[in-house]
Amino acid sequence: MTATLWPWAALALLGAYHGVNPGMGWLFAVARGLQEKSRRGVLSSLLPIAIGHEASIAIVVVAVSLTEQLVPPFLVRLLAALVLVSFGVYKLARPRSHPGGFGMRIGPAGLAAWSFLMSSAHGAGLMLAPVLLGLPVYATYHSLSEISLQAVAAASLHVAAMLVVMGVVAVVVYEKVGLGILRRGWFNMDLGWSFVLIASGAVTLFTAI
């Protein structure tokens, strides 16, 4: 039971983590609410941000699912491990990455594009690779449709968790807490995130051997 549950729990937790992280979206939603002076500005920002995030992780989910079809499982894990470790090392060297060309008035499509780039630069999708590989369907051969179904479920659970947490944090900050919380509570997770990327790469590597 626990062996089949942990990947799902991990997917939801990672989603919640991205939901809490100000840099991934809720802060932008609050900013737009403040600019429009209405909660509607906050709420209408959430879905575009979630869509951008979903698109970013979908690339990894599709890549993992397709690779599964073509190469032996241990090679998939080896590949995933290599990508994770190199990306983690890259994030150690260049922790701050913010896409250029965006502003406060970018509209829903711009917001989704921004979220896509932020999530990709953050390695949000990559982090899902080892978790996906932990799902039972990936362990043995299954048809593409079975894998696809599970992949969609995995990505949806992750983004749903992100959306709920992001929405709650954004509304609570907008309505009650105020942005003063940023100064106290916006911890720098860049360093920790880089190490988590490297560590999960290492774990994936060991399970491959």
């Binding site: 002076k37 701050r96 913010h98 250029g100 965006f102 406060m104 008035r105 942005l179 100064r183 911890f187």
Partner: protein, 462 residues
């Protein structure tokens, strides 16, 4: 070079409202320069803690390694705009002051963290790097932006137009390049700032290096050749959107002070002089539908004077022009401060209604004719010029030099430099602080306050 913190730099504030409650400053940074270009210019630290014995006095000074830079304006590597949602980097530290030499085109980077009273020079951006990467020279205004350090420049390396804006990387201090992708009709440059909430940048106009470095050129001035326009830009797209011409009569459209509240799309700009009657003026630009408009909201008249006591440049006019050179806006967008460098007056306006300013205070210091004294000094020359305002809006710090070659034209006897403090009453009104008046060997120019002030930071949240 940049260092990373575990929590956001505590000098960053999401909104101007929160920044106004920041701790009161105890230390100020001021640049001074040698007009003779024989001694190195300096970055000076001044004690501004009223409880301290050294209140108002110089505590430290670090010399530039060269002579002839002409220190002028300067700014921080990062500030509150680091909290902007679309390009957040809240864990970079506000610790470096970027000090351009307006004449040499070098930019020095000083680290104030190890010992805030004695900054250390840690990096120099040479004029060549700015010329090669951005095609500009004579760096002027520095603003820490949401995604990099923005610097305006008066011209190209030959001293001609166009002037413009370039960007410096806030991690490495490398010059990233020219900011404008499409500059439209814009040629002259001076100040710039933005409405972050509207993705809009605004630039103003003075003159090319060739038009200003030898002093104000009376022929160019009378022909209306100095800047008389502002330009509106799309900030993220880096494109010119709109040119607003105030008219050739209005010469030298300088300091831009947009509302600090990012949900407001208006701001104030000062015009040095009118060719019609030598008056100075303040204008309010504002967003009206999809385009910006501008309206004159304050007129400051010239004062009649005996030609005998006027410098040669002004004798024919028989009047002292106010010469509004610098303005500043309180963080609550309520009080506008105006320096009239010619008449030696410092004015306060209530701009709660940005189209109907009410004059609420005035003090006199220096002036071409008046030479008004401080309670602790004899007659003064120069006049209120650079003004920096504390984040709580209660204190305005003044210095009295404009620009070396122009100083000599308006104050031919040679400016004796000073710095003074003006206290602002919460309900309006100004008074000279009796305890803070200091003279300096070199010419004083811009002041910035530790951890931020009313012209150092910009905000993405209202």
């Amino acid at each position: 070079m940049a260092t990373t913190l575990l929590r956001p730099d505590q000098t960053f504030y999401p909104s101007p409202r929160l920044a106004a409650k920041a701790p009161v400053e105890t230390l100020a940074y001021m640049v001074t320069f040698d007009p003779a270009r024989k001694e190195p210019d300096g970055l000076v630290t001044v004690d501004v803690d009223p409880k301290s014995k050294g209140f108002g006095k110089q505590i430290g000074r670090v010399d530039a390694p060269n002579v002839g830079d002409e220190f002028h304006h300067f700014g921080w590597n990062v500030c509150s705009s680091s909290l902007c949602p679309y390009a957040a980097h809240p864990h970079l530290e506000r610790r470096y002051l970027l000090v351009p030499g307006l004449r040499s085109s070098r930019i020095y980077v000083f680290d104030v963290k190890p010992d805030p009273k004695h900054p250390k020079l840690v990096h120099t951006i040479e004029a060549r790097e700015i010329a090669d990467r951005a095609g500009y020279s004579r760096p002027h205004t520095i603003h820490c932006g949401p995604d990099g350090i923005y610097v305006s420049a008066l011209g190209n390396p030959d001293g001609d137009a166009p002037g413009g804006v370039f960007v410096i990387d806030h991690d490495t201090f490398a010059v990233k390049g020219r900011w404008e992708l499409d500059r439209g009709p814009q040629k002259l440059a001076y100040d710039f700032w933005w409405h972050l909430g509207y993705d809009t940048a605004i630039t103003s106009e003075w003159g090319t290096p060739k038009m200003v470095e030898g002093g104000v050129n009376p022929e160019l001035l009378l022909a209306g050749e100095y800047g008389h326009k502002i330009h509106i830009w799309d900030l993220p797209k880096r494109r010119h959107r709109q040119e607003i011409d105030l008219g050739k009569e209005y010469q030298m459209v300088l300091e831009l002070r947009p509302a600090h509240d990012p949900s407001k799309a208006y701001g104030f700009v000062g015009v040095v002089t009118s060719l019609k009657d030598l008056s100075a003026s303040i204008w309010t630009w504002y967003l009206d539908g999809s385009s910006y408009k501008i309206e004159k909201v304050i007129d400051i008249p010239a004062e009649p004077a005996d030609p005998e006591v006027l410098p040669p440049l002004l004798q024919g006019f028989k009047a002292v022009p106010p010469l509004v050179s610098d303005i500043n806006l309180s963080l609550d967008d309520r009080w506008l401060y105006v320096s009239a460098w010619g008449t030696g007056e410092f004015l306060q306006f209530d701009v709660s209604d940005p189209f109907k300013p009410k004059k609420t205070g005035s003090v006199h210091l220096g002036g071409i004719v008046r030479k008004a004294a401080h309670q602790t000094s004899g007659p003064l020359n120069g006049g209120p010029q650079m003004v920096e305002l504390s984040r709580d809006g209660k204190r305005a710090y003044l210095t009295n030099s404009l620009y070396a070659s122009w100083d000599e034209q308006f104050y031919p006897e040679g400016i004796k430099s000073w710095a003074a403090l003006i206290n602002a009453k919460p309900e309006g009104g100004l008074s000279l602080d009796g305890g803070f008046f200091t003279t300096f060997q070199q010419r004083t120019h811009q002041i910035h306050l530790e951890a931020g002030d009313a012209s150092s930071d910009s905000y993405c949240y209202s």
